[in-house]
């Protein structure tokens, strides 16, 4: 199914604009992530698509060729995975998964067969008869997914599906979810505030901030070609190099850098992995922090810009705290972006 939103906005009765007029289309079978910090309107957008929130007048939501804007959630045929999973504590795993099918008034035998099929798919057979309270977080997450997918919805909507899990589990379940979603071969939208999650699961990411979609693109596009300082900062944690640009030279506190283009009126961004520590670097700074992260060190350097900048250092040994070091940044790794306009 394809999804098309035109001019979709949400203003709360108290005047808060949770979502500014938004256009969004999602292709058939595409997995799109809505990524943004909390309060950016991503969950509101998802709930509008689900039918759990009523958008402002003038908004239109199209599922293929059906205008579903006036339909309530129960008639939109969407599968929803909630942040808290919202599993029914009064029902077993099997009954939870079968509930949507029961609502479609399918014959008992077919419900049984379809539930078994979904249980197999999500590797939940051993837990089928269990009570919801007897499941671990990861198992609950799978049951929530299985329950949403069992009635064969037109579209799957996931609201922070992994955020209720602890960090170690989140990593493995992320990959698992990415595989399962592709196996289901279903159009899916999922909301997250975690850029790694969005990158790992989605075909396309829509970065949101202050109630608007700032940029949509594949994870690679967003990482390599952010169109705004916010996207650069949020996706891949780019750091701004605050200094004075003069032609193609940027003067920083710790030395001068060559820019790939004229830099007046622009903000210059760089990522930690492109900040190289080496004797021949034109910038000089002082090591503030050294964090050992297994495959690499993360080094905080002060004195180059007013803020501390980070460097990913892959050597066998790292400089010590307090050392003065030289730093090089290749011009082609610098990102010049229009200066941040206050979007709030």
């Amino acid at each position: 199914m394809t999804l098309r939103l035109t001019h979709t906005a949400k203003t709360y009765p108290d005047g808060t604009k949770a979502l500014l007029p938004t256009e969004l289309s999602v292709g058939k079978g595409e997995i799109v992530s809505l990524l943004g910090p909390s309060g950016c309107g991503k969950t509101t957008l998802l709930r509008i698509i689900a039918g759990l929130e009523t958008p402002d007048a003038g908004s239109e939501i199209w599922f293929d060729n059906d205008n579903v804007t006036p339909l309530p959630v129960e008639r939109r045929q969407v599968g929803m995975v909630f942040q808290s999973y919202a599993l029914f504590p009064n029902m077993s795993v099997r009954a939870n998964i079968g509930y949507g099918l029961k609502m479609q008034q399918l014959p008992k035998s077919e419900i049984e067969a379809r539930v078994t099929e979904v249980l197999d798919m999500c590797q939940l057979q051993p837990f089928a008869a269990r009570a919801i309270t007897a499941l671990s977080g990861g198992q609950r997450q799978r049951v929530a997914l299985a329950r949403a997918i069992a009635p064969r919805p037109r579209m799957l909507l996931l609201d922070e599906p992994l955020s209720a899990l602890d960090a170690s589990l989140r990593g493995t379940l992320r990959e698992e979810l990415a595989v399962l979603l592709r196996e289901f071969d279903i159009t899916a939208i999922f909301v997250t505030h975690d850029q790694d999650e969005a990158m790992a699961i989605a075909d396309r990411v829509a970065v949101m901030c202050h109630g608007r979609v700032l940029q949509t693109g594949t994870p690679e596009e967003l990482y390599r070609n952010p169109k705004s300082p916010f996207v650069a900062g949020f996706v891949g944690n780019a750091m701004s190099l605050r200094g004075k640009a003069d032609g193609t030279t940027l003067y920083l506190d710790g030395g001068a850098l060559t820019l790939p283009a004229r830099g007046e009126g622009q903000t210059v961004f760089v990522r930690a992995e492109d900040v190289c520590i080496g004797d021949d670097g034109p910038l000089r700074g002082k090591v503030e922090t050294v964090t050992f992260l297994g495959t690499h060190y993360k080094i905080g350097i002060s004195g180059i810009t007013p803020d501390t900048i980070a460097s990913i250092h892959a050597g066998q040994s790292a400089p010590k705290v307090g050392d003065m070091i030289n730093v090089a940044i290749k011009p082609e790794t610098l990102m010049l972006l229009p200066q941040e306009v206050d979007v709030a």
Binding site: L52, V73, F82, A86, F88, P89, Y99, G100, L157
Partner: protein
């Protein structure tokens, strides 16, 4: 166990308190089973008085049971949707309504009865019918039902659960039936037992509202104390006990269970 003086003190106080509670009960029950109270136990034990109570007051017993069941049905029909509505729309208006429903708890039953009499006393058919007492009982027990269900509903994320059911295609009625009611069940059970127990034991209101032809169990008890032999009144107490104690125990069990879920 009896090593320290503190322990002995604790035991003594506990036993004294128990004696204070149990001795009158035992005395009363024994009086109901003694052939002649003034001669004491030596006159022999008998069920004569219990049988006599049954013959005299069977109607009161049945009326009380009938009232309790009718009262339960009414409080369920009113209380469940009310608690659901209050739980789904939290806010100052809901708080206010909840307090309003709870008013009969704070107002003496006599005052409530007086108000009912003033308002409906002239409607002869209604005034003389058992439904008049029922109205009083419903007013008095409704807050217990509403609060009991509300406590359980407030402890679960009802809104998200319902949204979950809605996303699976459940209509509002189906959500109420499949999600709200089963999850509120511990509260409904605890509330129901409380309502039945209170309705059977209610005296203040009922005494004001009853007619000579409509005596409930506690009103009958007062009547027997006032106009019968002490043995009959005591036997009546025994009957009352047999009816109410199992209910009380079930109520304890149910509210303990509801509380476990609330935590």
């Amino acid at each position: 166990m009896f090593k320290s003086k503190v322990k002995i003190m604790q035991l003594a106080v506990t036993l004294l308190a128990c004696a204070f509670l149990f001795v009158p009960i035992i005395m009363s029950v024994l009086a109901g089973l003694t052939a002649n109270y003034f001669k004491g136990i030596s006159s022999g034990l008998t069920f004569k008085w219990v049988i006599e109570v049954w013959e005299l007051y069977a109607n009161s017993i049945f009326l009380s049971m009938w009232l309790a069941i009718a009262c339960l049905v009414c409080t369920l029909i009113i209380g469940l949707p009310a608690a659901y509505g209050l739980a789904r729309h939290p806010g100052w208006l809901s708080r206010l309504l909840e307090e309003f429903i709870s008013l009969p708890l704070a107002i003496p039953g006599l005052a409530l009865a007086l108000a009912l009499l003033q308002l409906y006393g002239s409607m002869k058919g209604f005034r003389a019918s058992w439904t008049f007492i029922l109205v009083g009982h419903v007013l008095y027990t409704l807050p217990f039902m509403v609060r009991s269900i509300l406590a359980v509903l407030a402890s679960i994320d009802l809104k998200t659960l319902e949204e979950g059911a809605a996303s699976l295609g459940a209509s509002p009625w189906q959500r109420f039936r499949d999600i709200v009611v089963p999850n509120a069940m511990p509260g409904i059970l605890a509330g129901s037992l409380t309502v039945v127990t209170l309705s059977i034991g209610e005296f203040n209101l009922t005494w004001m509202l009853h007619t000579p032809y409509l005596k409930t169990l506690p009103v009958g008890l007062a009547d027997s104390y006032a106009s019968m032999r002490l043995e009959i009144a005591s036997a009546y107490t025994l009957v009352f006990f047999v009816l109410i104690v199992p209910l009380l125990m079930a109520m304890q069990w149910a509210s303990a269970r509801a509380q476990r879920i609330t935590q």
